[in-house]
């Protein structure tokens, strides 16, 4: 049975080039902080990795702080900012469609006495830049807005927000770019941002590695204290090979992001056209979106059952986002609920997410399996 993995927004398979590079690097065991040559050898990998990541981001300046994953990088951005700049004010701005690694961080700060404005999405899942900017006051310390939403693929107006916020140098701007890194071409070329999060395993490297881009001159406080690695912002011996894997994936992507975007856009448009023919399918397409993610509902059916039915034929997709499932059981997505979707559309929702290696044949196969399974389930209704 040929398998089609349409769940790259949850995690992507290891790129073959990353696998080869890792195999070739297992002898590098040095601690990058060691003075001797073993340390130097490991440190060289980290240095190259920072350059490779900056290149995909589309900038040559700024710090790359490697962390133990995207969640940690988001937490470092948010808690690191409020800790460093708590005397600037007590107000924070974010949106209602953030990933839990951002949303829960703000909930914790709200419980700690911070005033947090969470901007509601439009019905199509996009966020209005104006509403975010209207929420900013003289007391605002941090604005955090994701680049691409992990459930709907909505592309948020971060450039517009960033440009406006540039006039308020005391307000730091964080963008969670986990679903955009390696997909949206050179984001930092046009986006004025202080902090930008990315994750390695979403682009075909290993789990357990993330990074936070910190613009030159921006100061935040560390969450982990210790040996002072990563410019003092993330103590702990670096995951050298994990970071190297990210570097290799980034290098492999660097020159091809545009080409991939165009290819995936063609896939997306074709897929959306075909999906519209599937019985009972309701597409949720934000006006501005990444082509890598497509979200659809099948009201009356259960997303969880559809996931298992598709899996039986080798097609892997998600309900909502994998992070909204606890222990493998889907919970109602707060993002979809915030968009005002009726309960049956939330329960019956599926997320398809692509990789640049997918083909039109993959799409056709998914649509055909999906159509069969949906018909079968509708047939069992009363």
């Amino acid at each position: 049975m040929t398998e089609v993995y349409f769940d790259t927004a949850a995690t992507a398979p290891l790129l073959p080039v990353v696998q080869d590079a890792l195999t070739a690097s297992f002898h590098v065991y040095g601690n990058p902080s060691s003075l001797h040559r073993k340390g130097v050898e490991a440190e060289a990998l980290l240095k190259a990795a920072r350059q490779a990541v900056l290149k995909v981001l589309g900038t040559s300046r700024g710090q790359i702080i490697f962390t133990g994953g995207g969640t940690e990088a988001n937490n470092l951005a948010i808690f690191g900012t409020v800790r460093q700049h708590r005397n600037r004010g007590r107000h924070l701005v974010t949106t209602q469609i953030e990933h839990p690694s951002v949303a829960k961080a703000f909930e914790a700060l709200a419980a700690d006495g911070w005033s947090v404005t969470t901007v509601a999405p439009n019905a199509d899942g996009t966020i209005s830049a104006e509403r975010v900017l209207d929420a900013v006051t003289d007391d605002t310390v941090l604005v955090s807005v994701m680049h691409v939403n992990n459930e709907t693929g909505a592309l948020l107006p971060v450039v517009e927000i960033g440009q406006a916020l540039a006039k308020r140098p005391k307000v730091l701007f964080h963008v969670d770019g986990i679903q955009a890194f390696g997909k949206v071409p050179k984001p930092l070329q046009t986006l004025p941002v202080d902090l930008y999060t990315l994750s390695a395993h979403k682009v075909g490297a290993l789990k357990g590695v993330g990074a936070l881009y910190v613009r030159e001159g921006v100061r935040i406080a560390p969450l982990l204290h210790g040996g002072g690695q990563e410019q003092g912002l993330r103590s702990g011996t670096e995951n050298v090979l994990g970071i190297h894997a990210l570097a290799v994936a980034a290098e492999a992507l660097a020159g091809r992001v545009d080409e991939h975007w165009q290819h995936v856009t063609r896939l997306h448009d074709h897929f959306v056209e075909r999906l519209a023919q599937v019985p009972r399918c309701r597409l949720h397409l934000p006006a501005s979106k990444s082509p890598y993610i497509v979200h659809a509902s099948f009201p009356g059916l259960k997303g969880e059952v559809l996931v298992h039915a598709l899996e039986a034929d080798g097609v892997y997709v998600s309900t909502g986002s994998a992070c909204s499932t606890r222990g493998g059981h889907a919970k109602a997505s707060p993002v979809l609920t915030a968009m005002g979707l009726p309960a049956e559309e939330v329960t019956g929702s599926l997320r398809f997410s692509f990789g640049p290696w997918h083909t039109m044949d993959d799409l056709d196969r998914v649509v055909s399996v999906l159509t069969d399974k949906v018909r079968w389930l509708i047939d069992l209704e009363r």
């Binding site: 059952v305 298992h308 039986a312 606890r326 493998g328 059981h329 069992l380 009363r382």
Partner: protein
């Protein structure tokens, strides 16, 4: 230092003819429970079981023995030479241990298995009691309701002296009562019902109905975890996984919705009975509790039960939910049971199920089903897995 532990096994000593067989199984189960504890040995002679182990392992050994079905209570014991002084020293030590645990009043009981020992039991008891009074600050004799009874057993080569009785799980040795089938869902009740059957000596063969894609691989994993927890109680547990999707979808398509659950349960019993026949399982155990859900009214039970002549044991029939939950926590299945995965009983739940279905209407509702074919196909798609106790030694 070696530590002796007295192992008491209540009921099985009552069963005259089968006694030696039961004892043989219990000794085997005790030995299995102690695998990995170096130097632990089980001795059995003269209707008395003793476990000998290194003093350092005593707590671990007691903990493991407490979970062996058939063991009623345990007492860590001191071994002394056959002299009054040595026995008195041991008796005082046992009393002092009990005193640290809050005991004040005591009595001494002597059992003189070795009649060549010159002092008769009552005299020896009063002598040892006197020594405890002399040695123990604030010791008080109470022959009727003592806080601690100091037992002294005079044997051929030594005397053993012990006080505290540590309660154990009780029941009958696992594997002494034959094999039963257990309808195991992912819920709270059925693992408890299976555990109670195991406690009465039955060996379990769990039967689980899996309805992929309506239930997930995680739901199946959860049931396998439950089977493993039951196996850890000291017995092999086999599990038959019946792929039940087609049966459920046919019921859904061809039978009246209100009777869906009744017919599903009847199909389960038909398949389970056939597994019992093939695997030589003498009865079926279920976690049903009277009145708990719509399929567990007396009318429902009768209508569902009507498809089989196999004995159905319902150890929880009169239990309240809270008591079943407490028991599930005690035996370690609760945390797994409450994981929120769908099981085959929670999909296709009718809006208005018949709570008092009659046999004739169930039979009429099943007319559209080719029952022998469905049973046969489900059996052909049944897989078996085996779980044995995990030893952490």
């Amino acid at each position: 230092m070696t530590q002796q532990i007295v192992v008491r096994y209540g009921e099985i000593s009552l069963k005259g003819k089968n006694r030696s067989e039961f004892e043989r199984i219990l000794v085997r189960n005790l030995r299995n429970a102690l695998v990995g504890v170096d130097g632990a040995r089980v001795h059995h002679h003269g209707g008395r079981m003793m476990v000998e182990c290194d003093e350092a392992d005593a707590d671990e050994v007691v903990h493991r023995l407490q979970r062996v079905f058939g063991v009623v209570s345990l007492s860590p014991a001191k071994v002394s030479a056959l002299s009054v002084d040595a026995m008195a020293q041991a008796a005082v030590a046992v009393y002092r241990d009990a005193q640290t645990g809050g005991a004040k009043t005591f009595k001494v009981e002597v059992r003189r298995a070795n009649k060549r020992f010159p002092i008769p039991s009552p005299e020896l008891a009063s002598e040892l009691g006197g020594r405890i009074l002399k040695a123990g600050a604030g010791a008080v004799v109470d022959v009727h309701e003592p806080d601690v009874t100091v037992f002294v057993e005079v044997r051929d080569a030594e005397a053993i002296v012990y006080g505290a009785k540590i309660p154990a799980v009780g029941g009958m040795p696992a594997g002494s009562a034959g094999r039963v089938g257990l309808l195991l869902s992912g819920g709270i009740d059925s693992p408890v019902a299976g555990w109670l059957a195991m406690k009465r000596g039955a060996e379990l063969e769990a039967i689980h109905f899996h309805s992929y894609p309506f239930t997930s691989e995680r739901a199946l994993q959860k049931v396998e975890d439950l089977a493993q927890i039951l196996a850890d109680w000291g017995g092999r547990v086999r599990m038959h996984i019946v792929h039940f999707t087609d049966v459920q979808t046919e019921i859904r398509k061809y039978c009246p919705e209100a009777l869906g659950i009744t017919i599903m349960r009847r199909m389960m019993l038909r398949i389970a009975e056939e597994i019992c026949r093939r695997r030589k399982l003498l009865a079926l155990v279920t976690g049903e509790s009277l009145g708990q859900v719509a399929s567990q009214t007396l009318e429902s039970m009768q209508t569902i039960n009507a498809v089989t002549r196999w004995p159905i044991l319902r150890p929880l029939v009169a239990e309240d939910k809270v008591d079943i939950m407490r028991r599930a926590r005690e035996i370690g299945t609760y945390e797994t049971s409450i994981l929120p995965y769908e099981d085959c009983c929670t999909i296709f739940v009718p809006k208005n199920p018949r709570t008092r279905p009659r046999i004739d209407e169930a039979e009429a509702a099943e007319q559209a089903l080719d029952i022998p074919r469905l049973v046969e196909e489900a059996l052909a798609r049944t897989e078996m897995k085996t779980f044995t106790a995990r030893r952490n030694g």
